[in-house]
Symmetry: C2
Subunit: 157 residues, 2 copies
DNA sequence: TTGACTCGGACATGGGTTGTCCGGGTACGT
DNA sequence: ACGTACCCGGACAACCCATGTCCGAGTCAA
């Protein structure tokens, strides 16, 4: 899995409850990561419709909907793509005992198992929302930490 | 996911019920794939203890236990490794609002979600065995296909 | 003893993710 | 209305791991 997923998730969590647009550079400074590369991840989120980008001075990114309506799966798929991890090479159609193409209409047993496992993985990721994540960080490091961090992000130098 | 997983699974299926050792070169010829690269995957299976390799003339690979006792997850983990897909970079310990290391003893919410999803994925893969896969190919392409293929593999030129 | 065949780990190559850059565009301040 | 400064967006390289290959050590059969 792409490492940028972690960055994107952290950004979505800190964007929770933010009313003003936040520039990508400030998010990068907050997390101490490469600003340009983080920008790429945010662009992916923007393409997926999870965040809305406003340009010009005092621009930045804002969530398009409530944090309860954004699942972890949405973020993962936005950054890493919607393609399944396992892709069949159709090697059963090769070699001396090659199967006929019309026999390969329906996915074989191996592919079925992989698709089912992929579905279970995605379902598990869909069960948690960004708001849930924000709640866990409130329980882990204290309820006042997130608002203070958001205040630091909101102030413009 | 590594593409070699598909090759390894196919090899395990055709090895079902094989009593004589099968060389890697013959398996490669049967599937029409690179012999040397397939050998690498079989070596991984050997290291994981799923197959036993016998050397010398008339050597090859044999399953170490019954196909019912080998799950798809075993093969996947043998080839692709046991490491989880998501690895945390601990970026919460960086930046102006860095968390203290002692606060990071327990995994955060993001990591918990990822671990849970990974567990669900592996559990789904563990539910199916190689014997089940052999059964599905019997239902899909006919019950006599697999024995005939195995007979072709068993004969030595 | 000979021989030949097998596996095993060490060695190149390519595609993909990571990381970076500059141009188009927008909103603010004058 | 103009200038300006800022921000986003997609196009451009660098690094790394998966892919693919090779030859030597070991082993069994003859
Ligand atoms: S038999 Fe299944 S895994 Fe093998 S090539 Fe066909 S679809 Fe892919
Ligand atoms: S808060 Fe969670 S996801 Fe973020 S760096 Fe720490 S463990 Fe990783």
């Amino acid at each position: 899995m792409s490492g940028g997923v972690e960055w994107a998730l952290h950004c979505c969590v800190v964007l929770t409850g933010m009313t003003e647009p936040v520039p990508a550079a400030r998010l990068a400074e907050f997390h101490d990561v490469s600003p340009t590369y983080l920008a790429k991840q945010l662009q992916a989120l923007s393409r997926a419709g999870l965040v809305r980008s406003v340009q010009g001075q005092a621009g930045g990114y804002v969530l398009t909907r409530a944090a309860e309506e954004i699942s972890v799966l949405d973020v993962v798929e936005a950054v890493d793509g919607r393609a399944p991890a396992f892709v069949c090479t159709e090697i059963r159609q090769r070699g001396p005992f090659a199967a006929t193409p019309e026999a390969c209409r329906t996915p074989c047993g191996i592919t079925k198992v992989m698709i089912e496992a992929d579905r279970a993985w995605r379902e598990s990721l869909r069960a948690t929302s960004i708001a849930d994540l924000a709640g866990t960080v409130a329980r882990d490091v204290g309820a006042e930490t997130l608002p203070r961090a958001q205040a630091w992000i909101a102030q413009r130098d």
